[in-house]
Amino acid sequence: MNEGRFKLIGRDRPDLLLITSVVILLAIGLSTVYSASMVVSESGLFRRQVLWVGIGIAFFLVGTWISFRRLEEISPVTYLLVCLLLLITLFLGGGPADRWIIIGPLHIQPSEIAKAGLILVTSWWLSSLRVRPRKFGELLVFLTILPAVILTLLQPDLGTSVAMIMIVLAIFVWAGYGPGWIYLIVSPVLAAVSSIHIIFWIIFMCILGLILYRRKYPFSSWLIFMGGNSIVAALTPMAWNLLETYQRSRLITFLDPSSDPHGAGWNIIQSEVAVGSGGIFGQGFLQGAQKELAYLPARHTDFVFSVWAEETGFLGGIILLATFFVLIWRITLAARKSVNSFNSLVTAGIAAYFTIHVFVNIGMTLGIMPVTGLPLPLISYGGSQMIVVLFLLGLAVNAGMYWREV
């Protein structure tokens, strides 16, 4: 930070590899939505998706042009507005699962916007803490993100709120907080989960002890972490036993919808059959048999990858995965070279956003992740998400171009 007070002039070329992978993914997305929309009774899906991409590209350009310094200044206000939107959704939400705000022809999904708001506010907090450290600063960051996470959880949208926490934790890692630190932060959750079996519990406690030892924590911290997590782990089975049977099964279905064989479990099986039947070369564009038989649920949104994998096979699937990997790699590079901490953290948050969405969504269609409503960025049908994602990508390109700015 020696050059801190100087502003270095000049910019790099926009990252063409990043932009190319975005274009490839948009093309895959549009063709898959087109294919999926052939059997959807709702008409005009494809036309609307084209419109969203158009608007999204405008937002992309805004993202490349906007000043990061200005963005940093308005981050807290933006976050407050996002929370307000989520609050409104909770009371006036409409559409499927009441997750939308409907104004005339406009359907906005605030939880999608909230994810971008969280990236901004977390980066803002962490970079300001770096300049002016505070006692319990990390706690303040967590308290700040709590409203958005809880409002999303209340919708109820467990998947999105967990994704939000993951993104925030990833930004912490990027800011230099090590895996050990993250482990301590999430230890109560791990304690509750590990209480299902004594072996898990012992492993959990051993790792906890190791981290505390290596970080040379004082005795009081040992007491708090070991004792507190023991209490959590002891209380979890008791709380579980206090629940009525129907409450338990509701909780299980909430946490793991695939345990409900009438609903989500059926979707997973159909999705696996669709992907598997694609084979190496796929059934051909517009030829997906599972899709045509209308077995596949949410073909154009959550399960859009199944359609792609069924029609283009392993070849198409690997191309899509590789393109996503290149995209994430290029975003991470931009984050790495950014001199300004806010720019770097925001860009890293964007990389985390992509990683988590791609893994959870595709993992769900392949049956290795539980069913959640997380869409596949740039591919799934949906306006709010498309616009937010393209804006974030614009920011990533921006960060790579103006990396010298402080």
Binding site: V173, P261, V273, G276, I280, S338, F359, L366
Partner: protein, 571 residues
């Protein structure tokens, strides 16, 4: 990297991303390359079918374990429109004894969701379904499922209490799933239904099972919970026969006033709920609709009647407990009517000077017209609410009515602030006017008097929470109980009592009160009362348009009680 000399976050993040992508790629290889052939086979020729094994619906029995409703094995035949070949239409129609064109109609209607099976016929016996089963290989797209049929063993006696079931037709129901439509079948559906079992199979284009779907376990059905009622099936049967013999619609409710068990809740006319369980025909449905007495209507708790003179029991308790009159207080004599302003309030004969016991015994209206003016309409309304009138007594009887107690608020709303007066109070004092009660509520009034206020709220489920008595203590004084009980005995034993004739040959010791409810057409006949020995029973009988309470409803009550007690060997 800003300010951080080390590059570890970069390499750490990138390795996490790489691991996640390798995981996705590995599963993709497994699904598409290793198992690709298997899944391709599944999606092109075969497909997965979910087989639902219905859970046996819970058994309903009476208090002595007599089974009232259970299930018998039956089958349904359904077809998947997208797999069914219309060339086979005639064959299927012949096997299922359907009229020509009926099948195509069903299939056309269901073609919006072509892969979802649609029910063609339900409730088929083993014999009927076997001929289709033999031909199944010739008619792809048709399938046979087990779907237990609800069977009612005493269909007519319990048609109103149990209600009936029908095929579920909601989005998430499976073929052949039955749900309660009315009565306890509806109210206790969640308890009775159980959880269906699930199996996944891979079937080929002809509907033959190729194999169990790999990797998912099947789930066994969980039977529905059984339910025991407080009702005594024998008593219910006697009550239905006795009511039917009058030839008029009516209801009889009998409650064990010591524990609140509803032993009998009979309502006539009746219908056969098995018609609904197996699928009702158009003719049967029309026959029910054409019956002016409406057999589907439940009269023991879902119908309200003016309680008429049976309500005088409550009025008398109020007058005595509030100290408005004493046992020996005699107002001016009854000359056969009472004139208030320019309205004449009639009595059914001139009774002369009476005290409260005699007034109840002979059911004199004028006594109550005169004495009730000592209090107000709101006091009487509030007091009668203590007896359970104006509110529901149970939470499981579907369609239970609250009845109606008119108070000044109600009358103001109905007639305007000046549109009513003392005359309304006089009418209500003898159970006429706007006052309405269900037969169940009237039986509870009898039970409260019999138990001297100790009776718990009535219930029809044998397993239920014990609740506090309907009547809170101190509402009715001990002496008021004594006096009203004495009067109800004299209604039966005194020569002038309105039930003297009905019970003159009876070996029962009965306490009672009659009522003759004025209504358009012939009056409704009512009687309430109780026996203490050999069993604590409170009863209410209502015969619609039966005429005089003492001469029509009284004998019915006597016959039901004595036949039941004789059959049990109690008397």
């Amino acid at each position: 990297m800003y300010g951080n000399s080390k590059n570890w976050p970069f390499f750490f993040s990138l390795s996490v991303v790489s691991i996640l992508f390798i995981l996705l790629g590995a599963k993709l290889i497994y699904l598409q390359i290793i198992k690709g052939e298997y899944y391709r086979g599944l999606s092109s020729q075969n497909h997965i079918r979910v087989i639902v094994t219905p859970a046996p619906r819970g058994v309903i029995s009476d208090r002595n374990g007599i089974i009232l409703a259970d299930s018998k094995p039956a089958f349904i035949v359904s077809a998947v429109p997208s797999e069914f070949n219309r060339a086979n239409t005639a064959l299927v129609e012949q096997q299922l004894e359907m009229t020509a064109g009926e099948l195509n109609e069903i299939l056309d209607e269901a073609s919006a969701v072509p892969h979802r099976p649609v029910v063609l016929r339900e409730g088929l016996s083993v014999e009927k379904v076997s001929s289709i089963a033999e031909n199944l290989y010739r008619i792809p797209g048709v399938m046979i499922d087990v779907a237990p049929l609800r069977r009612y063993h005493r269909p007519e006696d319990f048609c109103h209490i149990l209600g009936y079931v029908g095929l579920a037709d909601t989005q998430d129901s499976f073929r052949g799933e039955i749900i309660g439509r009315t009565g306890l079948e509806l109210k206790l559906n969640e308890t009775l239904r159980g959880i269906p079992g699930l199996q996944r199979e891979v079937v080929d284009a002809l509907g033959r099972i190729v194999e169990e779907f790999r990797g998912t376990s099947s789930e066994d059905p969980v039977p529905g919970g059984n339910v025991s009622l407080t009702v005594d099936a024998e008593l219910q049967s006697i009550a239905i026969t006795e009511l039917e013999q009058t030839g008029m619609p009516g209801a009889a409710v009998i409650i064990d006033y010591e524990n609140g068990d509803i032993l009998c809740a009979a309502s006539v006319p009746v219908f056969d709920p098995n018609m609904f369980a197996r699928g009702i025909t158009q003719d049967e449905w029309n026959a029910i609709l054409d019956n002016q007495d409406n057999p589907l209507f439940e009269r023991a708790w879902a119908a309200t009647y003016p309680p008429a003179s049976t309500f005088k029991v409550v009025t008398a308790c109020w007058l005595l407990s509030k100290g408005l009159i004493s046992r020996d207080y005699m107002p001016n004599p009854c000359y056969g009517s009472l004139t208030l302003g320019d309205t004449e309030f009639g009595c059914w004969t001139s009774h002369g000077r009476l005290n409260v016991v005699q007034a109840l015994e002979q059911s004199c209206d004028v006594f109550f017209y005169r004495t009730v003016q000592l209090g107000s309409i709101d006091e009487l309304a509030e007091y009668s609410a203590c007896f359970g009138m104006g509110s529901r007594l149970t939470d499981v009887l579907t369609g239970e009515k609250t009845g109606l107690i008119p108070d000044s608020d109600y009358l103001n709303r109905t007639y305007g602030n000046d549109g009513w007066g003392l005359g309304n109070l006089l009418n209500i004092s003898i159970g006429q006017g706007e006052l309405l009660a269900t037969p169940l509520q009237l039986a509870v009034i009898a039970g409260i008097i019999a138990s001297r206020g100790e009776m718990p709220p009535p219930g029809i489920l044998l397993q239920r929470k014990v609740l506090n008595p309907v009547l809170s203590s101190d509402v009715v004084t001990d002496s008021a109980f004594d006096i009203v009980t004495e009067a109800m005995l004299r209604v039966v034993t005194s020569r002038r009592g309105t039930l003297y004739n009905a019970f003159s040959d009876s070996s029962l010791d009965f306490w009672g009160k009659t009522g003759t409810a004025e209504c358009p057409g012939e009056d409704h006949a009512l009687v309430i009362g109780f026996v203490r020995d050999p069993m604590p029973l409170a009863i209410c009988v209502v015969i619609e348009h039966g005429g005089h309470g003492g001469s029509i409803a009284g004998p019915v009550a006597e016959n039901i009680l004595s036949r039941y007690l004789v059959e049990r060997g109690e008397i």
